[in-house]
């Protein structure tokens, strides 16, 4: 009984490299971590929700937050939480960051009634992708069926 508990504990503690890879891929491209494990339905639903939230957030006039705060001139500590949330969208965030897309707080964007909704959708898209990433990791590590 004690041996069984120990082996169970060891199995839960050690995660194979492929689990880390699936988690990283799931973060980089929302849904990819599940799709590559053959979990098409789960991947399409989880990834699709993140993609839809990100696109709706951008269409609503939301903007992404950077860690440097050079664009807004505010304290970098105030930027950290929303930037970490935005970073959860992985490749989408990096793509926009590399091209400098949608980071500026433009006055015409801020005047829109849906501006704050857009920001919220963008934050939550990232936070949900963190959940999806952990789910892909757990499945690959055998902790979840």
């Amino acid at each position: 009984m004690a041996n069984k508990d120990k082996s169970e504990e060891k199995r839960q503690e050690s995660a194979p490299g492929v689990a880390w890879l699936m988690g990283a891929l799931g973060w980089f491209l929302p849904g990819a971590g599940h799709v590559l494990q053959g979990r098409w339905g789960r991947g399409l639903l989880l990834g699709g929700a993140v993609w839809v939230m990100f696109i709706v957030g951008v269409l609503f006039g939301g903007h992404l937050f950077s860690f440097t705060a050079a664009d807004t001139g505010t304290n970098p500590f105030l930027q950290a939480a929303p930037a970490i949330a935005n970073l959860g969208t992985g490749g989408l965030y990096l793509f926009c960051s590399l091209l400098g897309l949608n980071f500026a707080e433009l006055p015409e964007q801020m005047r829109r009634a849906t501006f704050e909704y857009g920001n919220t959708f963008l934050w939550v898209a990232g936070l949900l992708n963190y959940l999806a990433m952990l789910d892909a990791f757990d499945i690959a590590a055998g902790r979840k069926s």
Partner: protein, 56 residues
């Protein structure tokens, strides 16, 4: 798109992910996702009505 529809879209997407990621069987996932969706919508409507009566 009305504010209510935006809130319902938000609740549906969050409910779908939360249900899928935190439960095992499809039935449990659906039930939990639906519960999260309903909680978002009902609490949002209750808060909206409470704020409506505030004078500031």
């Amino acid at each position: 798109m009305t504010h209510l529809l935006v809130m319902m879209l938000f609740a549906a997407l969050v409910g779908a992910v939360m249900g899928m990621a935190s439960r095992e069987t499809p039935r449990e996932q659906f039930r939990y996702g639906l519960k999260v969706f309903c909680e978002f919508v009902v609490i949002g409507l209750v808060l909206a009505w409470l704020l409506y009566f505030l004078p500031f």
